[in-house]
């Protein structure tokens, strides 16, 4: 009964076009943001912040990136991991060359490099579509991985071939490096992710976002409406890769602290893809739901047997996680291709008409 839009009349198109036209949704978002910024840092454990919230946010951002490309612009990509890698290695190089520049600025800049890489590997999308394109993104994945391994300049000629995050401070509080506290890192990531998500939501509801969806739904018609496929597809690749790049930089600098090539391998690309599928293609909320789901699921699968007093081998939970995610992917593709986000929406629709199930609009 509380979730009703009755009585909320829009008096201007501006109000009708707002991101969240329904008041309850606005309140809900506000509550979520307040708890994310104040409640979680104040009341939860380091384990929760460091091992659950931080990875969740990083993956959610990467999922936003992939969803822009796959869910909104309709270009399937299997190279997300590599584009994240471009962001991470660029950020590492930038941090080497500009040790005094604020690390947050560097992280935001590093996305530009992966955007460039995205454009380069997006070029074939002009001539080829769908599954074929997926294979060119595989080319990007393997070629870039090889670059991360072979071009020693990228990791400053370290013998180990790994990039290690230096310590950097913001207002005299360490936010990267081993001594940065989880809460500090969490707050930085949360701010960046919240900001970039807002930007994505804005772009997606405007002219450019619409042009991507036009290309996705019917590229020929889009072209006949005056959309230049070149521009639309490449801008989607660039924008999406920017997000992936920033997510990659955040992953290494704010979460892992160091990384080798394997951190950006194909399995990683798939992981993000699963988040997008399960969360819901073409939905920003879905990115967060998918990331939360895929990230928390193994934690739960690990925890449940031990709560029940069963002793499962670590590897077994890994296998079970694989199976569960696989089954869920197929389940969602069959039952609800728009994933958790659509289920949530349906639930909200139900709420709207509750307790009169047949009075729907």
């Amino acid at each position: 009964m509380l979730y009703r839009e009755a009585g909320q009349f829009k008096t201007s198109y501006a109000a009708d076009q707002a991101l969240l036209p329904i008041a309850q949704d606005r309140i809900g978002l506000f509550v979520i943001l307040i708890s994310a910024f104040l409640f979680i840092p104040a009341f939860t454990s380091d384990f929760f912040i460091g091992a659950i919230m931080i990875p969740f946010l990083v993956f959610a951002l990467a999922a936003v990136g992939l969803n822009i490309l796959t869910g909104y612009a309709g270009q399937l990509s299997l190279g997300t991991g590599a584009f994240m890698g471009v962001g991470a290695y660029s950020c590492y190089k930038l941090a080497t060359y500009f040790p005094d520049t604020n690390i947050i600025i560097l992280i935001l800049c590093s996305g530009v490099f992966s955007a460039i890489a995205g454009i380069a590997f997006g070029l074939p999308s002009l001539r080829i579509k769908g599954l074929y394109l997926a294979i060119t993104t595989l080319a990007a994945q393997f070629f870039l991985e090889w670059c991360f391994l072979r071009i020693e300049w990228l990791y400053n000629y370290n013998d180990s071939g790994a990039i290690e995050v230096p310590q950097r401070k913001l207002f005299d509080i360490a936010i990267t490096g081993a001594s940065a506290s989880p809460v500090a890192r969490y707050l930085v990531i949360l701010s960046i992710v919240a900001l970039l998500t807002l930007v994505a939501a804005n772009v997606l509801r405007g002219r450019i976002g619409r042009s991507w969806m036009m290309i996705r739904d019917m590229d020929i018609a889009a072209e006949l409406m005056g959309i230049r496929p070149l521009y639309a597809k490449l801008s989607a690749f660039a924008f999406s890769s920017y997000y992936c790049g920033v997510a990659g930089a955040l992953m290494v600098f704010m979460w892992l602290g160091s990384a080798e090539v394997e951190a950006f391998d194909i399995n990683h690309s798939f992981l993000i893809l699963f988040m997008v599928i399960i969360g819901g293609m073409g939905s920003l909320t879905g990115c967060f739901m998918g990331a939360a789901f895929i990230w928390v699921l193994p934690v739960i699968i690990r925890a449940v047997p031990s709560m029940l007093g069963l002793d499962l081998i670590a590897a077994t939970t890994e296998h079970i996680t694989n199976i569960v995610i696989g089954v869920l992917i197929i389940f969602f593709l069959i039952v609800e291709p728009h994933g958790l986000a659509r289920l949530w929406q349906i639930a909200k629709e139900k709420l709207r008409t509750w307790p009169f199930p047949y009075s729907s609009t």
Partner: protein, 318 residues
Amino acid sequence: MDVLLSVFVEPFQEMLAFPDFFLQVIWEGFVAGVLYSLIALGFVLIYKASGVFNFAQGIMVVFAALVLVSLHEMGVPAWLAVVLSLGVMALLAVGIERMVLRKLVNQHDAILLMATIGLTLILKGVGQLFFGGEPKPMITEQLGLPTGSTDLEVFGGLVILQHIDVAATVIALLMVIALAVFFSKTRIGRALRAVADDHQAALSVGISLNQIWAIVWFASGIVALVTGIMWGARSEVSFALEIIALKALAVLILGGFTSIPGAIVGGLIIGIGEKMFEVYWGALLGSGVEAWFAYVLALIFLLFRPQGLFGERIIERV
């Protein structure tokens, strides 16, 4: 200038100077190519009949071989293990048709692709859960496959032919012939082709689409088992194979998604091409170029001939 020399002159000089070694490189590439072709073949079978881009073909190869080896480990005689593994692949085919394909009829091809990615995860999880994640040796001798090698003396040097590689080539050839006969001479085979050409037409003459799908998935399960045995015999059965199997996707770009000759020629081009590139040019780039050669070749190829070597030209209609 030096760079130009080392790219355009020296590799060829080397090929001429050591022709026996050059032949060995070609042969190694050829055998690897045969195995890529086999994976691509299983893929083409499915794509032709059901329009599904089966990402799980690679893991099916691992899974089939793993079932076979594990059964033998449990004490099942080799021949019975082969029969039982085929049974498992048949069950798998029926299961996939019932639980996945039937529910996803007429969906967008990207959705079907993603469903097979889900399938990959399931097979990987199930395979590791039941048979363990560690690599296992293939039961080469128990299956009556040859081991050992023969030396060919050519150009005053040696070309070493592994018997298992020769056997793999012969078996692959036999399998292609068998498939060709199956498609052109048997009733089911003709039905399969009808389905590939036109689903509606096939339905109207009373062919059950569901049966056909289960049959092609089973057929590609057989191909997967054979591939798994061959590959396993060359190294061992392990999940690491899954990544290498992805190269079959590049093969498909070269050969076209629906062409069996394309899969074979594409596989050989990639197999031989990457070996030569790695051995003669790899050092210039710091080696390891095999990891991406296939995909980059496919990408370049796509830009010039998107329909593949044997595919039909695509004309778009409004």
